[in-house]
């Protein structure tokens, strides 16, 4: 994946991402390379581009059979993130400058207009490795991409 590595380094040079983020992305690419070399089938459930972000909340141990227990199952298409990012094109330049200034005041040096679809694609691709598993006494929360 030399192309991806090049893009990450370019993003780092453009100060779009921090050194730590670049390090993480490069490590991710290295692990993907290793997984790709390991076998043609790869890891089950990790094939192809991710399509959905899943959020599941289930009752914890002991409350699983209770009909009163809270259960949440949300599936959000990742295309919605891509389409949402296109909304930035609707922001007129005056408004974008105001947003940039407001963010700068809060200590965030970021311009929405510099956000490119390639960057979003990379982010969405990187999400394929996302998996959050939280288990408290009452509930189990599982966030993943499929």
């Amino acid at each position: 994946m030399p192309e991806n590595k090049k893009r990450i380094l370019e993003m780092l040079a453009d100060k779009k991402i921090t050194v730590e983020e670049a390090e993480r992305l490069l490590a991710l690419i290295a692990s993907e390379d290793a997984a790709g070399n390991a076998g043609p089938e790869g890891v089950p459930g990790r094939k192809g581009a991710p399509k959905y972000l899943r959020v599941e909340v289930r009752p914890g141990a002991g409350a699983e059979s209770s009909p009163e227990a809270e259960r949440v199952n949300v599936r959000v298409p990742l295309n919605l993130i891509r389409a949402g990012m296109k909304l930035t094109a609707l922001i007129p330049s005056q408004a974008a400058e105001k947003v940039r200034d407001a963010l700068k005041e809060k200590g965030v040096d970021f311009d929405l207009r510099n956000l490119k679809m390639d960057d979003i694609e990379e982010l969405v691709e990187a999400l394929s490795d996302l998996e959050v598993d939280v288990e408290s006494g009452k509930e189990k929360v599982h966030v993943y991409v499929e």
Binding site: K51, Y52, P67, E68, A69, E70, R71, V72, N73, V74, R75, V76, P77, N79, L80, R82, A83, G84, K86, L87, A89, L90, I91, P92, S93, Q94
Partner: protein, 92 residues
């Protein structure tokens, strides 16, 4: 290429009383096209007026972006069960 959502499924309510709706969205698309075509001259006129204020381009881009957002909703599924109360939204 994204395909537009074809069906909308809604379910609300408790176990005893439920509201169910299954809406074939593709039936609405011809109406949407007709409404857009009828509104096109007015939209273009509004864009021309707004152009000098810097809002013309965003205004013109609004409809394709909105349609893109609608298209991207395909596959969205929300299923919430809380104390016997259920909310289910599915866009296919």
């Amino acid at each position: 290429m994204n395909r537009p959502p074809m069906f909308l499924g809604l379910r609300f309510g408790k176990r005893d009383g439920k509201f169910r709706l299954w809406l074939p969205l593709f039936i609405l698309f011809p109406f949407l096209v007709v409404i857009l075509l009828l509104m096109a001259p007015f939209l273009l006129l509004a864009a021309l007026v707004l152009w000098s204020f810097g809002w013309g381009k965003p205004f013109l881009l609004f409809i394709p972006v909105l349609l893109n957002l609608l298209w991207a909703l395909r596959g969205l599924e929300i299923d919430i069960n809380d104390k016997g109360e259920k909310v289910f939204i599915s866009i296919k």
